[in-house]
């Protein structure tokens, strides 16, 4: 009895001497660590999905040096023709005032470029493109009328960027 336990102790002492690090179980720790690493790497990637569109504000605050030489800008006016109903995005029924809402299909927008009025933003942007090609010095102004949402504006800016029109400025007042 006594002999066996002594022998065991001896053996374990010998083991400690030969490979002291081997006694610690590293595998689970390394597993967890790698999982954490992968998790943080993945979360970092998701964020880069977000993008941005460049736009400009009118720089009218200071005295303009060449304001007399500036040609009249091309204005694209976004107007709400039919407001549509606010619905709950999950259920599709009328919005109750809780959480997010969306507009239903009855919502309609019109886009006015100069005297012409369009119902499709693509056509309006095509017209802006024509005008801009005639006189590239004319800047493009976006006039979002009351009732328009951020998404409506983004759609116009996105379409304009797609056809190569950049440097869009904003106009209009919040009042």
């Amino acid at each position: 009895m006594l002999g066996t336990s002594k022998r065991r102790r001896d053996r374990s002492a010998k083991r400690n001497e030969k490979a002291p690090q081997a006694e610690m179980e590293m595998t689970p720790m390394i597993d967890v660590t790698f999982l954490l690493l992968i998790f943080f790497m993945c979360t970092l990637q998701f964020r880069t999905l977000e993008g941005r569109l460049a736009a400009y504000l009118p720089k009218d605050t200071g005295p303009a040096l060449r304001s007399a030489l500036q040609p009249e800008p091309i204005t694209i006016e976004v107007r709400v023709a039919a407001t549509g109903l606010r619905v709950d995005p999950r259920t599709g029924v009328a919005w109750t005032g809780q959480g997010r809402f969306e507009f239903d299909g009855a919502r309609e927008l019109t886009y006015r470029v100069g005297p012409r009025q369009y119902t499709s933003p693509e056509r309006a942007i095509a017209r802006v493109g024509e005008l801009h090609a005639q006189d590239p010095l004319r800047r493009i102004k976006l006039d979002a009328r009351p009732g328009t949402t951020y998404a409506d504006v983004i759609q116009v800016v996105d379409l304009a960027t797609r056809v190569g029109l950049d440097g869009i400025t904003f106009t209009g007042s919040s009042e």
């Binding site: 030969k18 690090q21 569109l53 328009t148 951020y150 998404a151 759609q155």
Partner: protein, 164 residues
């Protein structure tokens, strides 16, 4: 003696310490990066834009980021600084003045004064009334701020992936 070479315990002779050190450093790095970028970006449903340019987190933290919720609530650095009920823009204005002072100044073509050369990032829910954003744009043009470059946040179409 010969047996001990094949003992699984002696296989651990490989030195794990440098590897674990590096992995921990990587974890700490990613944790810090994630924390910094999450701080200012609020969870919002952004409109989809195909042409949106990939937005890299701003390292200098010089770019003001303004989050606007659907009801018009403005959140900056995880703090609500404007509610439509109170309708008080002083805190937002203070924030923009502070940020504009930190920015590099330049004189753009057609102007004779120095104005900030860095953009502001506006992030709004897709159904936010645009007049809320116009109000912020108005503030940007005020004396002491004069930020004229705007970046509008949008999400990219899901099938596009993270891009190259």
């Amino acid at each position: 003696m010969q047996m001990s070479k094949h003992d699984p315990e002696t296989d651990m002779e490989m030195n794990m310490t440098p590897m674990i050190d590096v992995v921990f450093l990587l974890i700490i790095f990613f944790m810090i990066i994630t924390d910094l970028t999450q701080q200012e970006l609020e969870q919002l449903v952004l409109p989809v834009a195909v042409e949106a340019v990939e937005d890299k987190p701003d390292k200098d933290e010089r770019r003001p980021i303004v989050n606007i919720k659907q009801d018009g609530t403005i959140i900056v650095r995880r703090e609500v600084i404007y509610t439509p009920e109170e309708d008080d823009y002083t805190r937002l204005k203070e924030y923009l003045v502070d940020m504009a002072q930190l920015m590099d100044k330049d004189t753009p073509e057609g102007l004779s004064v120095m104005v900030p050369d860095d953009p502001i990032l506006i992030r709004a829910d897709e159904n936010t009334p645009f007049k809320m954003i116009q109000k912020i744009m108005e503030l940007c043009g005020q004396k002491g701020i004069q930020i004229w470059k705007v970046e509008l946040a949008a999400s990219r179409p899901p099938d596009e992936g993270p891009g190259i």
